[in-house]
C-alpha cells in the first residue's frame, strides 16, 4: 500500500491552474524530498494529500483510503510552514489538546516533548517560545499518534545545527520503522543526504522524480574531478590535453590543481588515463549535488520565477 498516490492530478484555483497532471507516489519507509520554487505547487500538493482540497482532475489516494477521510487523517502527521499555536497555552496543554483531537494516548505527550528537546519549556506559555521552540512543538504535534505518513514543510527553519541533525536522525529512525515522509525544503544541501527520492516541481508540473543517481542520469550533468599533479602542472595538463581530444572535456585551473568537468559516461575512462599516466597525486570526484540538479531542472528561469512568485 502506498502512503499516498497522485494520479494525473490537476488543480485550479479560480481560473489559474496550479497543478498540471501530476503523478507522484510515496512508499512506506521512504523519505521524499519535494522541491520547487515558491508557487510551484508544493503547498497545493500537500493540501490535496491532506484532504483540505479536492483535485479538479485526477485521483488522490492516501494510505489506501480517500484523502480527508477521518480514518486516514488520523494516521497523518503534518507540520505546516510557519507553525503557530495558541499563545496563552503552555506547550504541554497544546500538545494534550491536539493528542485528544487525534485520538493519541496522552502519555505520548511528555515523551514527545522530551524527544524534541522541550522538556524544560513544556510548562511555559507558547507566547514566550522562540521560532525554533515553536518549530519543535510543531514537530512533536506532527508525531502524535505515530503517523504512517509524515509531511513536513520547511521543518528546519529556526532550528540550530544540532537540533537540525537531531531532527534528521529522528526522521531516519522513523523511516526505518516504515513511516513514509515528505520533506519540503529550500535548504537543499541540508536535506540531500537524508532523502531517498526527490520530486521537483515547476509551475505546477512535475519536472523530475526519482532517486539521486537516476536524477543525475536524467540530467546528464558533468561530474567534476579535482586532480592534483604529482609533479608539474604542465605535465598533467599535457596528459589532459591528449585525453581532451578523445572525450571533449572542460579544464579549469584552481590553486595549482585542475578542475575537470567530464560527462558521466566518460568519467571512468578519463580516470583510467589519468591513473596510468602517473602524474596524479590526488583525485577528488564531485557528483552534481541536489542543488545542481535542481537548478538544472528548474532551468535558468528559476530565479526569475522565484522573484515573480513572491
Amino acid at each position: 500500500m502506498n502512503c499516498f498516490q497522485l494520479e494525473n492530478v490537476s488543480h485550479c484555483y479560480d481560473k489559474a491552474t496550479v497543478l498540471h497532471g501530476v503523478d507522484l507516489r510515496l512508499k512506506p519507509g521512504e523519505i521524499l524530498g519535494l522541491f520547487g520554487h515558491n508557487g510551484a505547487g508544493k503547498t497545493t500538493s500537500i493540501k490535496l494529500i491532506l484532504g483540505l482540497m479536492k483535485p479538479t482532475v485526477g485521483k488522490v489516494t492516501v494510505l489506501g483510503g480517500e484523502a480527508g477521510d477521518p480514518q486516514v487523517t488520523q494516521h497523518i502527521g503534518y507540520l505546516p510552514e510557519n507553525v503557530m499555536f495558541y499563545p496563552q497555552l503552555t506547550g504541554r496543554e497544546i500538545l494534550r489538546h491536539f493528542a485528544r483531537l487525534k485520538g493519541a494516548p496522552l502519555h505520548q505527550v511528555p515523551d514527545l516533548l522530551k524527544q524534541v528537546g522541550l522538556n524544560d519549556a513544556m510548562d511555559a506559555r507558547t507566547k514566550t517560545y522562540s521560532k525554533g521552540m515553536r518549530q519543535r512543538l510543531g514537530l512533536a504535534q506532527a508525531l502524535l499518534g505515530r503517523p504512517k505518513l509524515l509531511m513536513l514543510d520547511e521543518p528546519t527553519v529556526g532550528l540550530d545545527p544540532v537540533a537540525t541533525a537531531d531532527l534528521y536522525r529522528l526522521l531516519r529512525s522513523l523511516r526505518d520503522d516504515g513511516t513514509g515522509i515528505v520533506l519540503c525544503s529550500h535548504v537543499l544541501p541540508g536535506v540531500e543526504p537524508y532523502i531517498d527520492r526527490a520530486a521537483i516541481l515547476t509551475d505546477g508540473t512535475l519536472k523530475a522524480a526519482g532517486d539521486l543517481p537516476s536524477l543525475r542520469q536524467q540530467a546528464n550533468m558533468p561530474v567534476t574531478l579535482t586532480v592534483q599533479p604529482a609533479g608539474h602542472l604542465a605535465d598533467l595538463e599535457a596528459v589532459m590535453g591528449q585525453a581532451k581530444v578523445n572525450t571533449g572535456l572542460v579544464v579549469k585551473h584552481d590553486h595549482g590543481s585542475l578542475l575537470v568537468d567530464v560527462r558521466p559516461n566518460d568519467k571512468m575512462e578519463l580516470i583510467k588515463i589519468l591513473m596510468n599516466s602517473g602524474e596524479v597525486a590526488d583525485l577528488g570526484i564531485h557528483q552534481p549535488s541536489l542543488e545542481d540538479i535542481y537548478v538544472h531542472f528548474i532551468g535558468s528561469g528559476g530565479l526569475a520565477h522565484r522573484g515573480a512568485a513572491q
Binding site: P80, V83, Y86, P87, G103
Partner: protein
C-alpha cells in the same frame, strides 16, 4: 462527538483562564442585586419592590448586555483561529468543519450559560434569603424563566457572531460587524418598527404587525419575561404590539430557540463552503 467535546473543553478552559466566566458572573450578580435593591429608587424608596418589576428591569437591561457579551465572546471563533494560524492545522486533524464549529458553540454556550446561572442564580438566592415577605415560588419561577431565556438569547447571539466569524477573514472586520449586529437588533430595529407604524398611518395589516416582533430575538426575550406576569401594562413602546400576538409563551420560547438554530445552521453551511 469526542472531537466536539475536545474543542468545547478547550473553549471552556480558555474562558476560565482569561477570567471571562468570573467577570460575566460578577457583572450579572451585581446587576441583578443592584436592580433588586435600588430598582424602586425612582419612586422614592430603597428596597425590594416586587418580583415582576425586578424581572422587567433586569430584562430591559439584559437586552443591552447579553447580546454584547455573547458577540464579544464568540466573534473571533473561526476568524481568530485562522489569523492565529491554527485553523489550517486543526483541519488536518480528524475533525470536520461542522465538528469544530459545534464544539466552539458548545464551549461558548456553556460558558455563557454557567455565567448566567451563577450570576443571576446567586442574586436570586440572595433575594430569597434577604427579602422577608417575598413569595419564594413565584420568585423561583420568574428567575428560572429569566435565566432560561437569557441563556437562549445569548446562544442566539453567539450563533449570529459565528455567522460573521466564518465569513470574514480579519478579526477587526468581524468585531465591527458584530457591533453592527448588536446595534441593529438592540437599538435600530424597534425604532424602524415604530417609524413604519407611524408612517403607514394604520394602513398596515394589523394581523401581521405583531409578528414583526418575532424578527428580533431581543423583543421576544422581553415579551417572554414581561408577558408571563399577565401584566401588559409593563409593555411600552413597540412592545405593546406583543399583547396582540396570538401565540402564548410556548410560541415565544420556540421563536427564541429558532433564533439559535437558524443562524447556527447558516454558519455551519457558510463554514462548509469556506476555503482553507
Amino acid at each position: 462527538m469526542n472531537a466536539i467535546w475536545t474543542i468545547a473543553r478547550k473553549e471552556l478552559s480558555d474562558s476560565f483562564r482569561n477570567r471571562w466566566l468570573v467577570a460575566i458572573s460578577l457583572v450579572f450578580a451585581t446587576l441583578a442585586l443592584g436592580i433588586a435593591w435600588f430598582g424602586a429608587a425612582a419612586s422614592g424608596q430603597v428596597g425590594y419592590a416586587s418580583t415582576p418589576a425586578t424581572i422587567a428591569s433586569l430584562a430591559s437591561l439584559g437586552i443591552f448586555l447579553i447580546p454584547l457579551i455573547a458577540l464579544l465572546l464568540a466573534y473571533d471563533a473561526i476568524v481568530g483561529e485562522e489569523e492565529g494560524g491554527t485553523l489550517l492545522l486543526l483541519m488536518t486533524y480528524p475533525l470536520s468543519k461542522s465538528q469544530l464549529l459545534l464544539g466552539k458553540f458548545l464551549g461558548h454556550g456553556l460558558t455563557l450559560a454557567s455565567a448566567t446561572v451563577i450570576g443571576f442564580g446567586v442574586a436570586g438566592v440572595a433575594i430569597a434569603l434577604l427579602v422577608e415577605d417575598v413569595a419564594i415560588g413565584a420568585l423561583a419561577a420568574a428567575m428560572g424563566r429569566f435565566i432560561g431565556s437569557t441563556i437562549l438569547l445569548g446562544w442566539g447571539f453567539i450563533a449570529l457572531a459565528y455567522l460573521v466569524s466564518v465569513r470574514v477573514s480579519e478579526k477587526p472586520v468581524a468585531a465591527g460587524m458584530s457591533l453592527a449586529i448588536w446595534f441593529f437588533f438592540v437599538l435600530i430595529f424597534d425604532l424602524v418598527l415604530l417609524g413604519v407604524l407611524v408612517a403607514s398611518e394604520g394602513k398596515f395589516n394589523p394581523e401581521l404587525l405583531p409578528w414583526l416582533l418575532m424578527l428580533n430575538p431581543t423583543d421576544i426575550y422581553r415579551l417572554l419575561n414581561i408577558v408571563a406576569f399577565g401584566d401588559s401594562g409593563q409593555l411600552s413602546g413597540v412592545l405593546s404590539l406583543g399583547s396582540d400576538l396570538p401565540i402564548g409563551a410556548g410560541g415565544l420560547w420556540l421563536g427564541l430557540a429558532l433564533w439559535c438554530a437558524v443562524p447556527l445552521t447558516g454558519a455551519l453551511l457558510l463554514f462548509k463552503n469556506r476555503k482553507i
